[in-house]
Subunit: 509 residues, 2 copies
């Protein structure tokens, strides 16, 4: 039957050498692919997933035993299997050829893949793995949305908005001014670099928060809310600087469109939430065949993700909104449990791929361009960290609150920051050193945030280990124990239910 | 962040116009794809999945209410959304262009996809959906393997082997002889058509068996065992006839290689089963982070699938073997529950895509070539059904047993039969009418088997509804009820646990 699946396509790499996001037009080269080779796309994907899973478990478990959030280990393991080291997981957009991919070489030796089809299989497999990682982050944000209580998120909406705005303004101003005054960088590239400092990676922050069981604390809710708004602001800033870089002036209409569409989308989904929720429950109760609860939820999540993507917001914002509006009920509590294994299957693909795509070569000081970049990078990293931490201080009222944690939670720039670097270099705005510096800043802030977040929350972690659900790290218990744990979880109003609190459990040990 | 995911590839269709499996060499055409368009691959996939899910639920629920197995409804719904009708889900290998895809047109209107990149996005999206459907059938067979008890399967191994051999020999002999004597078809095409009659679609049969809760009856085990062996035999027969068609003589070495490799693979995995099982449990108990049970299982399943694929067996045989050797234990019972939502998410993609790829145009009698084909088809269908039913009679001893059911269970030819048609037409061996006739035979047997299987088992369905698990069609019950159901299920030695018995529940209503 393998041949039935021999319906594959024909690929050529899209992108010139660049480690990250890229919008340059593409030159096509062609490679012949016969059906026998096309049948090897699936084995290629299967091997890639095996690599992803082994990396995520080795990294995650080790990181967990060392007291760090598992996601940090997954990122680092991703770097090890990726373009920077083992070349098991490489992507064409980094300029890699099939000959750079250890998996393709394995297919050539084990599965008789001929070298002339290797390029096509390599690209097909990379394309599929990329989409799987995108589905992974969509499911992560959908799960986070399900766990988040819309009311408690609305309750901190005001502070979250202020934190987000300050968290965008301060790093942008400090970064742009600093580059122009201290390093004599021209205005437009300086603005570009400043813009790259505004982003917040909601994926990494939210994952860490749920791993340490802090998602539904007031701090967690403010961070999450601010990260969402920050993501939207980041997209608007990107539109501004991108048009600045291209035409030298700002495309006001586009900016207005983005502001309106994003507000309508987020507020609209919140206002229509109860309607969506009722409809979902009615449909779920109507269906009697397998997946009667899961499939309607996925349809809703994927439709919202589609909307988010096509109005030039992000797919993940749609997924988060979808999860958020499915309010707590017997159905959604059961749904949460069904989404967990799916997230466990797909989310690691995202984090390992983020690591695998990170070319830490830019950190090599022996490369001349890196040296200048390193100095700028140190400045950018300082601004990136200080700029977000001070925003935490802007949270007013609220009596005793971990303002430092809020600031730290906003530090990781993640993928968003890299989009700026990618677009900047594509438009030729950024000098090589400045681009390298931005990439370094993103890498450092992304990898620094998880352990920092653990530290600033450590003093309060003990109580957390009481709440939340043990069922996911209790696979070695008898089904009975697990079931009762699940039942508890169903009525556990701390809706971080289902997320194990490894770090806190560890700190107890 | 959408742009981060704008790392796409560049595609052109692989195949000349042909509805199914195809091994002809490929001519490449190229299409420009810029990153903005590449970012639309994800929305395309999301929309495709939404279509798949809506189709699977509408079809499955309706079919269920009518007393048919849900999978039949999914297949039919697939035909409706596919190449035969709505063109929502079309694949390039059928010769479809992006302009034939309703989803691509929607992307062009809603997401500003430019027509010159449409082809590339269309092919990228189709590639991803194809692999998702392949992962779907892999997870289906893994789940079936987990539900099957290796001992009870071994217990019927002898009968299963005989049923499989007779089930291959009888249709092959009758089909080939009949075509040569009654229709004056030359030897090689007749042998080709006869070979296409030998296959059994394990995917469809096993899905129906678990849907009606008959997987772990003696009949179910014999059908499953025979279907697996049949699949292996089918691959060997395919190798024989393919080399016959190509060179006019049989590549003996290749046949010997296939016989040895397949035997080593299946027997080896069974013999090493207890070792794999112990290792899996040890690893699962070692891991403390999320997915500590699921990820090792997926690594094992995907590795076995990879092995199955690269030794020119099938990926799904590897997945089945992997599930089979994970013997019943607390861990695997918990694992079964975690695999259910993943299967619910991915399996419908497979069945809806099988339907969507089916071009029922070949059934149109107004097309001249179809008329000749229809007559041959009627003969082939008769042989296909009678040929398998008589094999059921060959089951000896065993006292009271539903021999008819065993025969009927072997009827669906599914994808395997279509590989023959594809290779046959690619090698130019088959005349257009004969090829159409084979495709018709496959369609009819595939769509006929599920309802027939329901009928031959109907008389015994009542007791079945007591066993098995209600938890999946009890989403509208309170979590408590569901949990207790799950606990029951954990110790339910009828390991069809987790599979709802819709049909039987219905027959009770």
């Amino acid at each position: 039957m393998a041949d039935v699946f021999a319906w594959s396509n024909f690929f050529t790499p899209l992108f010139p050498k660049l480690s990250w996001g890229q919008t340059a037009p593409i030159l096509a080269a062609t490679h012949e692919l016969d059906a026998d080779s096309a049948a090897l796309v699936l084995p290629g994907v299967l091997l890639s997933l095996v690599v992803v899973y082994l990396a995520s478990k080795f990294g995650g478990e080790l990181s967990n035993r060392l007291g760090f959030p598992p996601v940090l280990g997954e990122l680092v393991a991703g770097v090890i299997v990726g373009i920077s080291a083992l070349h098991l997981l490489v992507f064409p957009e980094s300029g890699a050829q099939s000959s750079d991919s250890a998996i393709i070489q394995l297919l050539q030796t084990t599965a008789g893949l001929n070298s002339q089809s290797a390029e096509a299989v390599f690209n097909a497999q990379s394309e599929v793995v990329s989409v799987l990682s995108e589905l992974g982050v969509i499911l992560l944000l959908f799960e986070i949305g399900l766990e988040s209580n819309i009311k408690s998120l609305m309750a901190v909406g005001y502070q979250a908005t202020i934190v987000a705005c300050v968290g965008v303004a301060v790093p942008f101003a400090a970064g742009t001014a600093g580059l122009m005054l201290l390093f004599g960088v021209p205005a437009i590239p300086a603005i570009f670099a400043g813009a790259a400092l505004t982003a917040t990676s909601i994926g990494i922050t939210s994952k860490v928060l749920s791993e340490i069981g802090r998602l539904n604390t007031k701090e967690g809710q403010i961070i999450l809310g601010a990260a969402v708004i920050d993501d939207v602001l980041g997209i608007i800033v990107l539109a501004v600087v991108a048009s600045l870089a291209k035409t030298g002036e700002v495309d006001v209409m586009n900016v207005i469109y983005l502001i309106i569409s994003s507000s309508v989308f987020l507020l609209g989904s919140i206002l229509l939430g109860s309607f969506f929720n009722k409809t979902f429950i009615r449909v779920a109760n109507l269906l009697k065949t397998r997946g009667g609860l899961l499939i309607p939820a996925l349809v809703f999540a994927f439709l919202m993700s589609y909307l988010g993507a096509v109005i030039h917001l992000e797919a993940i914002l749609g997924a988060f909104a979808a999860g958020l509006v499915l309010d707590e009920s017997d159905e959604t509590l059961e749904l949460q449990k069904q989404v967990i294994p799916i997230a466990d299957m797909l989310v690691p693909v995202f984090f390992v791929c983020v690591g695998a795509r990170t070319d830490i070569g830019v950190l090599n000081p022996t490369v001349p361009t890196n040296q200048e970049g390193l100095i700028i990078a140190i400045f950018l990293i300082a601004v990136a960290i200080v700029g977000k931490i001070v925003t935490g201080a802007t949270v007013f009222g609220q009596g005793k609150m971990n303002r430092l944690a809020i600031g730290v939670g906003m530090i990781p720039r993640g993928e968003v920051g890299l989009v700026f670097a990618g677009i900047g270099s594509a438009s030729g705005t950024l000098s090589k050193p400045l681009q390298a510096a931005i990439i370094m800043m993103v890498i450092i802030t992304t990898f620094l945030a998880p352990p920092l977040l653990r530290i600033v929350f450590r003093d309060e972690l003990e109580p957390a280990s009481e709440s939340g659900s043990p069922n996911l790290n209790s696979q070695n218990q008898s089904p009975f124990v697990q079931e009762s744990a699940m039942i508890k979880e169903c009525f556990n109003q701390d809706s971080s239910a289902g997320i194990p609190e490894q770090a806190s459990n560890l700190s107890k040990e």
